[in-house]
Amino acid sequence: MGEGRPGPAVITGIGLTSALGRSAAETWQSLTAGRSGIERLPMPATEGTSMPRVARVPAPERLRDPGRGVQTRIAGLHTWLLVRACTEAWNQADLPGAGLSARRIGLFAGLSPVECRPEDLLGAAKASLGSCGQIDYERFFREGYRQIHPLWLLFMLSNIALCQAAARLGIQGDNAVFSPHSDAGARALWEGMQSVAEGRSDAALAGGASAELWPTALVRARYAGLSPRSVLGEAGAFMMFESGTGAYRRGVPALARITGFAQACETEDGPPAVATIQRVMEEALERTGCGPAEVDLVIGHLDGSAEEDRREQAAVKQLLGGAPVWGSKTALGHTQAASVVVDAVLSVLMLTGGLMPVSEAGTPSAVFRRAAVRRILINGRSPQGQVVTLVMERGA
């Protein structure tokens, strides 16, 4: 454990793989050029899902890097999204050259649940079919189940992706896995930052990754409380936190800071109430010591759900008056556990690049203008009632 408390943590690296690019810079370039990563899937694969549009990462096979430390048989797309984003943030922060002890580096992630892939069980099913085409359990127990890959279970444990990144980068410190929605990624960011601020880690990677969008995921999304107007997306987004003094000593620029965080859970039926969303934003702002007038931009959750989005906008208006509201999901989709982290990475790019979106919330193509952005408030929520707010500011 380090000596005493090192003080506030700063962000020294970011990583993002999304439908708009295989790095944070590529995504940012595409986004500011007004491009959208959303595509319409061909019929009939999505017929009847109400979700014919998705924001998938381009050429996912190119993300699969057979490098050191990752066991590829149990690495789904979610693993590669996580590993890539972690590695990008790690490299930007120049951690390889920092000489930190592996046990003093933390890793926190919000991860979407990984679904069972029917094709993993197909061999077992075929080997166990009886004469009438149904599973013959005697056959199944005798030989069928042995057709399933021994590591099949591990593929579905979302924490394994985090362990793969730990093995790749040699991280042995403080950690947690939160699951599975926007609030999970937000919590991971907060915990990563706290781990550094409280001296449990000298540096910590924190972020989130979504699961691969299979047709079954789209079918299931219809039942998951997501609106038919929502567009699901794939992404991995991570940030490196370290103490401000540590970053200064190493000569690594402090890109931004998280200065406020709050969350709540709505226990009544229906979407979170305006009052709940407002209370959470208020609490997060209180922690920053700033007033509502000092917020330059709100990145709303804005996932296309009519009533939920209306309530969020009402809460923003009541608390923050005329602060501009923008949403990234119109270009990048709803990346579930990664979504707040995606917005946090974009915030870092806005804060450091002096660019701010000026398009209306819900507009497919983003338009940006030069602006001195000081403070961005990010909202997230889950279909199960969790509400979360992060406040991001420029690095000290």
């Binding site: 454990m1 408390r5 009939p44 694969a45 999505t46 017929e47 009847g48 066991q71 149990i74 592996a102 046990r103 991860l111 649940p113 069972c116 197909l122 099913a125 005697e138 127990f141 189940y145 399933i148 021994p150 590591l151 099949w152 279970l153 591990l154 444990l157 924490n159 394994i160 985090l162 362990c163 730990a166 093995a167 980068l169 040699g170 991280i171 042995q172 410190g173 403080d174 950690n175 947690a176 896995v177 939160f178 699951s179 599975p180 929605h181 999970a184 919590r187 706290q194 789209l218 079918v219 219809r222 039942y223 998951a224 969350q263 709540a264 859970c265 226990t267 889950s382 199960q384 969790q386």
Partner: protein, 430 residues
Amino acid sequence: MDRGDSRRRVVVTGYGVITPLGADTETTFARTSRGESGVGPITAFDAAGLPCAVAGEVPDDWLGTSQPSPLRHLEPMVSRGVRLAWQAAQQAARQAHLERVSCRHRIGFFLGTFGENQAWAQIQSLHRMMRAGAAKSLLDARDYDCMHFFRRKPDVAAALMARICDCQGPVHAFGSACAAGAQAVGEAYRAIQAGKADLMMAGGCEAPITLVGFLGFLLLRALVERYENPQRASRPFDRKRNGFVLSEGAGILILEAREHALARGARVLGEVLGYGTSLDAFRITDVPAHGQGAALAMRAALEDAGLSPGEVDYINAHGTATVQNDLAETRAIKAVFGHMARQIPVSSHKSMLGHTVAAAGPIEMILTLEGMRQGLILPTINLSSPDPACDLWYVPNEAIQRAHSRALTNSFGFGGHNACLCIGLPREEE
């Protein structure tokens, strides 16, 4: 033990369990203190022909017949795991008089769970859909239970529990496999320390005894395959150990800021003194032979508690009964405790309860706390053929009367997640 910092102290004011040995803490503790086993032949599905046909099951009639009222209209979303957690949470809430706490947005719920596995029939439906190549065919399939989606998602379980218990503060699900429940408790402790909540319900629940869930563990070769009878199947630290017994259950604790508990006159049952986590950063399917990751987690918990190894009176081992885990954990304990390692009682509750996966950490923490309160250390049963490489004091076969006030409880997850909680009895002033 004064940490010399400004963090709030976190005490335990309620807990509850449901396990294969009992529908409540009192029964489970009484039966484990007699060294009974909760393992039996599998009844949930026909396991004849599988290399392992034993598990620790909770009888259905212990789960109660009615749903908690906030869930009645959500019945299809309620998994067996949530029903187990509800039984444990009710005990904890009663013990802590939770109904008397009015500021509900300062109460959170952290839950470790994997969620319900798919039924085989569901997988068959998915096959048909894949063959047809269209999502519509799945939607049209009348035998596909789309509500399973909710029973599968861990956050639904956490949110449902928060709704039942009216917890309006931070609510999260944890997904770090067998360490998830311990991480949920550890993170709840940190949330209170940091002032994010005044009171947290935290724990884990798991109901993995289904054909598909069971197969996953079986294929990993993690389950016991050679045993004389079900009760003798779970043999942590024994030379004949050859895998763990999969079980179901739940454990929920109520953690509270000490000043909050004292101000409302709540009875303090124990204190969370420290929490540590680590990652093995090793091959995903192996445990580092010397348990370096486990040792890191134990050291971190001790450091967080401000304790030296010599101040620990008891270690509740993860002790799964796999060949690798028990040896690595033994070596890790030796690395942390040095020459004192053989003098500290170490025992595995899994010898009696089997491995309840994400629920194991909270259940074992509760039994450890109950043991401290009663001055009784629970045994490691089925330890009849000592393994020369596992040479600590494992409290073989019979519980021992012994006053003890500080303990570590270990939880290690697949992939290399390690969590360790340091707990203690209330100090005299309470």
